[in-house]
């Protein structure tokens, strides 16, 4: 009796030992329903030939994107694709923008496969291209659906790795009633913008809805005011490339000071609790009609429509952000938002390409416009997204648009660092000179 007990326990211990130390050989495979391609297909050599042969075989591709504020809209576009391609299932993984790149990096560094994923043109794309994680799509027929200049602008090191999908103007929403009540004309220069803001403040209303609790809102503004002034006012289009190599410093660029002064002025004219209210909070504020202006892309429109339909229909206008005092330079900022990339280690490249091609087709482009209220780069896609946006039509018609993001090709993430340092300045915890010195110091530690 005692012996058998001891034996039993011994056996139990041994199994436990095996489970704990030796063995992952008896690990259950990940569930077939999930079909994570990474878990089930370890060797590249075995996968390639079978794929091409099995066109009709049902495949699942993973699609990770950062448009998580419009998850449902993206899902509708994906549904439309799945309907047209019944043998392809798309496993959509929306991730909050703030975490998106961290998660994507962890996955890639860990050898995971993501078939299709969104990237921002510029720094982030370059980083993933440098790591060898992005499939070269140069010369794919799908690029014929875009204007050549658009395709050119999305090149990385002279090649096309990403496909632009949706685009958005980044400009200033304004409350028409407040503007007309106070007799404010649409500002065409930076000084006029600030003068308008001051007038609104004197009238007891909030000039700017900022939402700078979120890092990205302030980061978005810095990442546009600074390159615009650097390249167009100070004529240093190569500044950010040189920053990366250590050949240029923020201190050498007068636009840095301009940007910092702008930031401080806008902060002072911002909503109460500037760094405590986030994006959703300011969209609420703006929708309530108490705020004069809000610097933003087209994303909040759907939300404003839900909360205050009347304001949405007739009460909002939209004008280009005047980053300088030269009205002829202050064109409309028009940026690609999400671009699509195919993972270089994808086992289902054909299906992935099909998916990307759909997104780049007229049908896909219209679907983006319809479902997520943003503009599309696809030639001939509809542009009717909201009443406020029609006000920008003259700029599009006259070609008075530009993209400040083409000037930023560095891979170091100085924008987030600048956000934190500017916040110091806002609360008088650092002077302008200290901010610039700290930034240069940080860049010198972090450039390659």
């Amino acid at each position: 009796m005692k012996k058998s007990l001891a034996l039993g326990l011994c056996a139990l211990l041994m199994t436990l030992l095996l489970a704990a130390c030796g063995g992952n050989n008896n690990e259950p495979q990940s569930s077939p329903a999930s079909s994570d391609p990474a878990a089930s297909a370890p060797a590249e050599s075995s996968a390639a030939p079978t794929e091409s042969a099995a066109e009709e075989k049902p495949v699942t591709i993973s699609f990770m994107h950062f448009k998580s504020d419009v998850t449902d809209g993206v899902q509708k576009i994906v549904d439309q694709f799945e309907e047209a391609n019944p043998n392809i299932t798309v496993d959509v993984q929306p991730v909050k923008y703030d975490d998106y790149y961290t998660l994507l990096k962890t996955k890639m560094a860990g050898g995971d496969v993501v078939d299709v994923f969104t990237l921002n043109n510029g720094a982030q794309t370059k980083l993933f291209v440098d790591g060898g994680y992005v499939e070269d799509l140069t010369g794919q027929p799908l690029f014929e659906n875009f204007d050549p200049s658009v395709v050119k602008a999305q090149e990385t090191d002279g090649k096309n790795y990403i496909v632009p999908v949706n685009a958005t103007p980044i400009a200033v929403f304004y409350n028409k009633k407040i503007f007309s009540d106070l007799g404010i004309a649409i500002p065409r220069t930076y000084d006029e913008l600030i003068a308008a803001g001051k007038k609104i403040k004197e009238a007891g209303k909030t000039p700017f809805a900022l939402g700078w609790k979120d890092g990205w809102t302030l980061g978005m503004w810095i990442g546009r005011d600074l390159p615009s002034n650097t390249a167009l006012v100070e004529n240093q289009p190569d500044f950010f490339a040189q920053l990366e190599t250590g050949a240029a410093k923020f201190a050498d660029n007068p636009a840095t000071r301009t940007m910092i002064q702008h930031a401080k002025q806008i902060f002072d004219l911002g909503n109460k609790d500037q760094l405590g209210v986030d994006y959703n909070g300011v969209v609420d504020l703006f929708a309530k009609g108490d705020v004069g202006m809000m610097y933003m892309g087209t994303w909040p429109l759907a939300d404003i429509q839900k909360k205050n339909p009347e304001l949405y229909e007739t009460g909002i206008g939209y004008f280009p952000y005047p980053f300088s005092n030269d009205a002829s330079l202050n064109k409309l900022e028009f940026n690609p938002d999400a671009s699509l990339a195919v993972g270089s280690n994808s086992k289902n490249k054909e299906a992935a390409l099909k998916f990307v091609a759909f997104m780049a087709s007229k049908e896909g482009g219209d679907s983006w416009v319809k479902n997520i209220n943003s503009l599309s780069y696809v030639k001939g896609a509809s542009a009717d997204i909201a009443p406020a946006v029609t006000e920008l039509q003259p700029y599009f018609d006259n070609g008075e648009v530009y993209d400040s993001q083409v000037y930023i090709k560095s891979t170091i993430d100085w924008q987030n660092q600048f956000v934190q340092n500017l916040q110091k300045l806002f609360f008088n915890k650092a002077t302008e000179d200290e901010v610039i010195a700290t930034m240069d110091d940080w860049v010198s530690k972090n450039h390659k």
Binding site: L13, E27, S30, S68, V283, A287
Partner: protein
């Protein structure tokens, strides 16, 4: 004395109200429509409607998340209890340098910041295909939990008198026999502690699942919450309905197990 009682009751009630306030806001939000929230923050909803709940239930895979959380928590805590009790017994009863050294290594492990091991763990998980599986993450939790577990069990067993064991040994009982017949029945209170502390930690853990369970079919409750909040950041009422749904099982568990939880924590603290 009466006066003191009333004062104590008043103070504690005020603190309790402050503690409950965030919950109150969460529940309030969960029942309102966006329009109602937009119009007035503190007004009660015009009608009690469970629409937010049913919408977020539909949108969130709640059932799958809660199943994952339950499975992972159950496997991990069982593993931890089992291995820690065994190891704790060895350490408590063998007062030799080797065992003491192992004990100290376990303790030192407790302060290892997760950040060092994060990338290696992810790489290991990837190579051993432990990602996106209940067992994979449970093994890691086992390794994390065993450190604290051994601390509690060794402390508890040390306080148990050796006399009965010695008597049993003279009667011819072997070590495993002693452990099963004499020690295990005595371990109930400390086991409750180990289960409660680990279950709470594992149930609420965020970073390890973020790395290990990226497949949405394996997401646990906190992970699902996090992604849900990200996706419905502009639809706060839905997000709060989901938050309330996440609180309910914890409240239920606590109310059901209150006696054991409190006893467990108390016992662990005193003996450990």
């Amino acid at each position: 004395m009466k006066k003191g009682q009333i004062a104590a009751f008043a103070i504690i009630s005020v603190i309790a109200l402050i503690f409950l306030f965030p919950f109150y806001v969460a529940v309030l939000m969960a029942f309102k429509t966006p329009k109602e929230t937009f119009d007035s923050f503190y007004a009660l909803p015009s009608s009690i409607s469970f629409e937010n709940f049913s919408l977020s239930w539909k949108a969130s895979n709640y059932l799958s998340a809660i199943t994952n959380s339950l499975i992972i928590t159950a496997i991990s805590t069982t593993l931890i209890v089992f291995v820690s009790a065994l190891a704790g017994y060895s350490i408590a009863r063998r007062n030799k340098p080797f065992y003491n050294f192992v004990f100290i290594v376990f303790l030192a492990g407790l302060v290892v910041p997760f950040q060092i091991t994060m990338l290696p763990l992810y790489k290991m998980g990837k190579e051993l295909s432990m990602l996106n599986s209940h067992w994979g993450i449970a093994l890691i939790y086992g390794g994390f939990g065993v450190q604290m577990g051994v601390l509690f069990y060794a402390g508890f067993i040390r306080a148990i008198s050796k006399e009965i064991e010695e008597a049993a040994r003279i009667d011819g009982c072997s070590t495993p026999g002693i452990f099963i017949r004499i020690i295990i029945p005595l371990l109930k209170p400390v086991t409750a502690t180990v289960i409660v502390l680990n279950a709470l930690y594992i149930w609420n853990d965020f970073l390890l699942p973020l790395l290990y369970l990226q497949d949405k079919f394996y997401r646990t409750i906190p992970l699902q919450q996090y992604f849900f909040f990200g996706q419905y950041s502009s639809d706060l009422n839905l997000a709060f309905a989901y938050a309330v749904m996440g609180i309910i099982p914890v409240v239920g568990f606590f109310l059901l197990m209150q006696k054991y939880i409190i006893k467990g924590i108390a016992a662990g603290a005193i003996k450990g």
